[in-house]
């Protein structure tokens, strides 16, 4: 089954971590990504630009509105994701626990429906 691992972190805190810590974290993410590519679990994964760059689109009665946001009101914001293939939830959560961001933020593990045919 495929699982989407959504990485949530406090953006404001992330902005303040400083050069050395940032370099260390980037290295950890590269190592982690490499390990799940080698293990055959990796399908996709990206880091997202901050919530301040986000736009929200809604279509109501045929009319499209585009707004700024969502605003970073919650404590943690979506900062990146991995799409992985795992044999079950236990494997998926074990992989999620190895994401460097799990040490400070949280990882939401969502099973993905198989494509509709």
């Amino acid at each position: 089954m495929n699982y989407l691992l959504l990485i949530y972190a406090n953006e404001a805190e992330m902005m303040r971590i400083g050069e050395t810590a940032l370099k260390k974290m980037t290295g950890e993410y590269m190592d982690f990504t490499k390990s799940i590519v080698q293990a055959g679990n990796f399908k996709a994964g990206d880091r997202l630009k901050p919530v301040s760059s986000a736009s929200t689109v809604r279509v109501r009665n045929g009319k499209t509105t585009i707004t700024d946001g969502p605003f970073a009101e919650t404590r943690e914001q979506l900062g990146g994701y991995y799409l992985i293939e795992a044999k079950n939830l236990d494997e998926a959560t074990a992989i999620a626990a190895r994401i460097p961001g799990a040490q400070t933020g949280s990882i939401e593990v969502r099973p993905v429906w198989p494509p509709m045919t």
Binding site: M1, Y3, A86, K87, N88, L89, D90, A92, T93, A94, V109, P111
Partner: protein, 425 residues
């Protein structure tokens, strides 16, 4: 064989085999609902055939293979409507060869353990874990599980449906966890079993103090775990704890359903066989090196209570010491409160009251009726009658259990009596 006896034999076999048959069918079929239906159908065929054809030599293997065949028939029928599940039938058929034909205790044991770990998976809510365990592992009817939690059968049925849907949708495995997480997952299972027991031992709401059925199911689960995971300090500690508490069941309530405090309980009513089994398990659990289970420490405290011939010979200093060990393992407000009560028996009510007041000052437990009740007792012993009455009233307003309400109301009435009686001597 008379009809009545045959029916009795059948019932006995069903009762004994239901859990094992269901656990194995879930593994073979990979689906809870399908397995439950298959199990019911197999039992129905047995009711029909066994009285005339005779009971098969290996009833368990017969029930499993009949259930599995019924399920395959059902999947085949479904194919007429749904064309996309050929995978399911080939999986079920390929598992057919893997099905044990003899009564291999190890394989059945493994299946039951898998089922327990699935039902107690941390990705399910705590209430769903308890409900699923009672329904699927203990084999209680949905109605019985609903009754235990004082909710309607319909609500409980929905809760079970949602839990099973989560298992399917999230891909919660039907497997014994990897060694790296096994200990943590066993802790989760023990918490569920203890949750079943405590709800039975001291219900949080309602008219009865003790729900015997839940206590018995929890102990049955504890024994099952002790068989499946032998020599595990936590499993033995929990089983010991439950047995030592349950041994006092009869004496904990009066004939009228009122609460009887430990010091007033009739010790001759205590269940000696549960006590000796429990004492043995505490010792075994605590003798395992490098694994101190908090359940075993709590059991050791219970052991000191049941070992005392009479209330006055209770070894309170050692109980205080054990609560201090427990506080290091598990610093929770409830344990702090129990520690304070034990301290009052050694150092007197004044010091215990200081401990409880400091606990209350840190918040979080002000809604806990036993804290107020304990304060009331200490204040009463110190002769601070008005404050004692206030504490008992606070306790009364926070408990939802009728026997506790009656007990507290009686305490308050007794204090009124003291206040109103003429001062003598």
């Amino acid at each position: 064989m008379s009809g009545g006896t045959a029916a009795h034999v059948l019932e006995e076999i069903f009762r004994r085999e239901a859990g094992r048959v269901l656990a194995t069918l879930i593994r073979l079929l990979g689906d809870f609902d399908l397995a439950e239906e298959a199990q019911q159908e197999a039992f129905a065929v047995a009711v029909e055939q066994w009285p005339s054809h005779g009971t098969p030599a290996n009833p368990r293997a017969w029930l499993i293979s009949t259930g599995r065949n019924k399920a395959i028939d059902r999947i085949r029928r479904d194919i007429v409507f749904r064309t996309k599940i050929s995978g399911e039938i080939s999986a079920a058929e390929s598992n057919l060869d893997a099905a044990p034909d003899a009564a291999d205790e190890e394989v059945f044991g493994d299946d039951r353990l898998r089922l327990i770990f699935t039902c107690c998976h941390p990705a399910l809510s705590e209430e769903a874990q308890i409900a699923l365990t009672l329904r699927e592992v203990c084999g209680l009817s949905t109605q019985a599980v609903a009754r235990a939690f004082l909710i309607s059968e319909e609500t409980m049925a929905q809760r079970l449906v949602r839990a099973k849907k989560k298992i399917r949708d999230a891909g919660i495995p039907y497997e014994t966890p990897e060694p790296s997480v096994l200990e943590q997952r066993i802790e989760g299972v023990l918490a569920v079993v203890y949750g079943v027991f405590t709800e039975g031992y001291a219900a949080t709401v309602g008219v009865r103090l003790i729900d015997v059925e839940l206590c018995e199911e929890a102990i049955r689960l504890g024994r099952l775990l002790d068989t499946l995971l032998p020599d595990h300090a936590g499993v033995m500690g929990l089983l010991a704890l439950m047995l030592l508490h349950d041994a006092r069941r009869e004496s904990r309530t009066s004939d009228t359903g009122d609460l009887v405090l430990l010091e007033n309980q009739d010790r001759s009513q205590w269940n000696r066989s549960e006590i000796s089994e429990g004492l043995l398990l505490v010792d075994r659990s605590l003798s395992i090196r490098g694994q101190v289970s908090s359940y075993a420490v709590q059991a050791a405290i219970a052991a000191l209570h049941v070992r005392a011939q009479e209330s006055s010979s209770t070894d309170w200093p050692q109980i205080v010491g054990l609560y201090e060990v427990l506080l290091r393992l598990q610093p929770t407000p409830v344990i702090e409160l129990n520690h304070a009560v034990a301290v009052s028996m050694v150092d007197g009510p004044g010091r215990a009251l200081d401990l409880i007041d400091s606990l209350a000052a840190r918040g979080r437990v002000t809604q806990y009726h036993l804290l107020h009740a304990a304060r009331g007792r200490l204040l009463q012993k110190l002769g601070r009658i008005n404050e004692a009455r206030e504490a008992y009233s606070a306790a009364l307003s926070t408990t939802m259990l009728e026997p506790e309400q009656r007990f507290l109301a009686a305490r308050i009435a007794a204090i009124q009596g003291i206040c109103e009686a003429p001062v003598s001597g």
